[in-house]
C-alpha cells in the first residue's frame, strides 16, 4: 500500500539539481530533471557511497561526484561498464508539490 507524503514544492529543487530527504534508513536524494521530472533514489553511490545528490544531473542520469560513475535515475542502475544499483522510490508531482511514497521508508524504520 502506498503512503504518499507531501515533501516540498517542486520549485524547492533547482532544475538539473537535487536535495535530500532524511529518513531513518539514511538520506534519499530527490532529483529534478531539466524537464521537471522527479526521481527518488538512495543518496549513496553503489561504488563507494558517494553522495549522488551532489552530482551533475544530465538527462535522466546523475554523475557521482566522487569518481564519475553515471547512475540512471529511473532504474537506479549504474550505466556503461560499471555494475551496481541503488534503491529507487516511488515519487510524483501533483499541483506543483512533490509526493514521495513513504511506505517502504517508514515501514522498515519502526524503531
Amino acid at each position: 500500500m502506498s503512503n504518499w507524503i507531501d515533501i516540498a514544492a517542486l520549485d524547492d529543487i533547482p532544475p538539473r539539481g537535487a536535495r535530500v530527504v532524511k529518513t531513518r534508513l539514511g538520506c534519499v536524494a530527490i532529483f529534478r530533471t531539466i524537464d521537471d521530472q522527479v526521481f527518488a533514489i538512495d543518496d549513496a553511490c553503489p561504488h563507494k557511497k558517494g553522495p549522488l545528490s551532489e552530482g551533475i544531473v544530465h538527462g535522466n542520469a546523475v554523475t557521482c561526484p566522487l569518481h564519475n560513475w553515471v547512475i540512471d535515475l529511473e532504474t537506479g542502475m549504474a550505466k556503461g561498464a560499471d555494475k551496481g544499483r541503488v534503491n529507487t522510490y516511488e515519487i510524483r508531482v501533483e499541483n506543483g508539490r512533490i509526493l514521495l511514497d513513504g511506505s517502504r521508508l517508514l515501514a522498515r524504520s519502526v524503531a
Binding site: 507524503i5 529543487i13 536535495r19 532524511k22 531539466i34 558517494g50 551533475i56 535522466n60 561526484p65 517508514l106
Partner: protein
Amino acid sequence: MSQKLVVIGAGMASGKMLEELFELDASAYDVTLFGAEPRGNYNRIMLSPVLSGEKAYEDIITHDANWYRGHGVNCRFNEAVIKIDRKQKRVISAGGVTNYDKLVIATGSASFFIPVEGNDLPGVIRFRDLDDVEAMLVAAKKPAGKVVIIGGGLLGLEAAAALNEQGMKVTVLHLMGHLMERQLDSAAGYLLQKELESRGIRIICNAHTNAIVGGDKVEAVLLDDQSTHLADIVVMAAGIRPEVRLGIESGLHTERGIVVDDTMQTSDPDILAVGECVEHDDTVYGLVAPLYDMAKVLARTLLGEAAAFKAPEVSTKLKVTGVDLFSVGDFGEDHEEIVFRDPGLGVYKRITLNNNRIVGLVMYGDTSDSSWFFDKLKSAEDISDIRGALIYGSAAQGIDPLTAVAAMPETAEICGCNGVCKGTIVAAINGGATDLAAIKAVTKASASCGSCTGLVEQVLAATLGDDFVAPAAAGICGCTDLTHEDIRQIIKSRGLKSMPAAMQEMGWKTSCGCHVCRPALNYYMIAEYPLDYADDLQSRFVNERNHANIQKDGTYSVMPRMWGGMTTPDELRAIADAADKYNVPAVHVTGGQRIDLLGVKREDLPAMWADLNAAGMVSGHAYSKGVRTVKTCVGTDFCRFGTQDSTGLGITLEKILWGSWTPHKVKLGVSGCPRNCAEATCKDVGIICVDSGYEVSVAGAAGMELKQTVALAKASTEQEVIDLTVAFIQLYRESAAYLDRPYKWVAKVGIAWVIEQVVDDAVNRAALCERFEISQSVYRKDPWAEQAKPEYQPRKWAALADLTLEAAQ
C-alpha cells in the same frame, strides 16, 4: 414528445455536441442554448488570427442563425445562467426560469488573473473571447501602443505575435525559465524565443510580477527586480481555470473541474457536462481535441447509447505564422532520447523512448513528419528495427544513409553555414582533399558550426569508397563532435550566452549535455560574457557548487584564504575556535601556505563560514578551477637576502586575482631572491625578486608533471609585474581549453605567441587587464558570505524534508 434539453454555454464543446446529437437523432430533444456571449458558437481557437488581422470574425463562425433555426434551437445568447435549481430541474437566468429534463453544462474556462495589486485596473484584458479581441484591437489602433503580456504559454505567445503584427510594442513576461515550459524543453524554448525576439518582441523569462500600476487605467507592470514595463494594455494570459461556479453552487461533485464519469454524467444523473469545465479521471483539458471526443460521447449518452470517453494523447501546435512547433507526450517515463539539431536551419527534434516505443516528441523548425511520429506514439509501435534512422523521419526509412548521400544531387547544400554544396565537396575530394581537415581547408565545409561534419564524412565515404578512413571522434564528450577550440570559437562568434543557446547552435546530440561538457560550456560563457551570462551552478562540479572540497566520506574541507601566506594570531584563534566548535577531525598545514580544516559536515558549512567571515576571512578557493594561492617568502621585511617586498607583492597580487575562474587551477609564487624559498619556479606564474627588479616566469607546475617555469619578461616596478601577471592570466582565461593547466596551454600556443600578446603589445596588454577587471567586478566576491546568508539555508543547505520523526503507518 421530445424531452427538454438545456445547454449552458455556447462554446466549442457544446457546438460539437449539438452537431453530433442532431446527426444521430434530430428529434429527440427540444434544445435551449444559453450563451453568456452576445453571439453563437464560433471557432474560438481562431481568435488569434482574428487578432492578427489574418481572419475576420465572419470567417470563424461555426454555427449561424440558419443552422440554429433549421435545428429548432432556442437561442438565448447574451444571457448567462445564474443558478441551477436541481430539485425543480430548472435553470434561472435574467430572462426567467427554464425547465429541463436533461441539462448540459459547457461553461468552458475562466482566465486566471494573477493575484497582484492592480489586476483589476481598466486595461487589464484577458484573451478568451471576441470581446477581448476587440478591446485589444482598439488599443492597437493607437500609434506606438505598448502591451505587456503576462504569460509566455500558448495563449500569451499567440497574442504577442498577433499584436506585434498589429504594430504594437510587445513585452512578454514569463514566470518560468523558458517559454511554453509545459510543452517544450529548454532547447525548443530557446529557438522559439529567438524567433519571436527577431520579430521585435521583448521576452523576459523568470519574471515575477509584483504589481500592476496605474491611475484610472493601467500604466505599467512592476517586477520583483524593480524593473518597470510601460503598458497601454496588459494581457493576462497566465493560465485558465475551469468555470465551475454553477457546479459548486448547485452542489455537484466538483474538484478542479465538475467531475464526470466516462459517459460525461456528473454526480446528478440528469446533469451532464462537457468541455474545459469538466474533470475526468483527475484530468482537466485545455485543448479542443479531447473536448470533441467528450462531445461525441455526450451526444450518445443523451440518446441512451453506450459510449465511454477515453483520455487521448494531446498534441500542441502554436498558431503563429512562420513558427513550426509540435509537442506531444510524456517526458515522464523515458529511458532514452534521440536528439537531432540543425543549427543552420534552426531545427531541433527530440524523441523520447521507453522500451523501444516513442513516448514523447518535441519538434521545432521542421514539423513535416510530426503526424508520422505521432501515429507511432499513439499506436505504441516497437521502433527497434528503424531506430537508426528514426529521427530523420518517414523519408529516411528503408534507406541507408550512404545510399541517400550518394543519391543527393550535386547542388544539394551540405554545409549551411558556409553554403557549400555536395558538388564542391566532391570536386575537392577528386582534387586530392581526402580527409575532413583537407576538405575544411579547401571548401570551408564544416569549418563553422561543425554540425554537418557527419554529412561531409558520408560524402567522403561515398566518393572514396574503400579508401575512406573514418577519423577518430574529436568531440570533447559524447554530446558533440566539436573540440574545445571549436566550441570557444563558436561561443564567441555567435554570441552564445546560455546553455540552451550553446547546445542548439552547436548541434549538441543530447538534450542537456553531461558532466563533461556542461562545466566546460559554463566556464567558456563565464569567461566570454562575465556581465551577461548567469553562472549555472547545476553545471558545476560539486566542489565549485558547494565552495568546499568533498572528501571520500561525503564531508568537506574548509580552507580560508591567508593572503600571501601571512596570518595573524587573531586569524589563527578564529580557525582554532571553528575547529573546536564544529568538531573538525583534522587540521593540516597545506603545501599552499594555509590551513585546511578537514572532515566538516555539509550542514555545518554555512555556519562555519559565517564564523570565519566574522573574523575577516574569506574562501581560499582551494576547490576551484580558479586562482588558488600566492605563496610568498618573508622577503625584505625580515630576510637578510631579500631584495624586494615579495610578501607585499604576493598579497597585492592575490587581492587582485582572487575569485576569478580559470580553465584549470592557477597558483602563484613570489620569492624575494633567487634562493627561491617560495618555490616560484614551479608555479603557473612565478616571480623572483632581484636587485634590478623582478623576473616574471610562467607555465610551471609540480603536480603530475614537473615543469620549470619559462621566462615571460623582466620588470622594474611592482605595477609592471601586476600588469604582466593579470594580462597573462586573462589571455589564459580567454584562449585555453577547459582543464588545460597553463603549462599545457603554453605548450600548444607557444611561449613566443604569449610574449607577443602580453609583453610586446602594450595596447593588447592593457586591453587584457581591462577585460580581467570587468570580469572581476562580478567575481571578486566571497562566495562563502553569499551562501552563508540565511535565505540560502532553506534553498540549499537544509534537507528538503526530515522523515526520521515521521511515524510508520
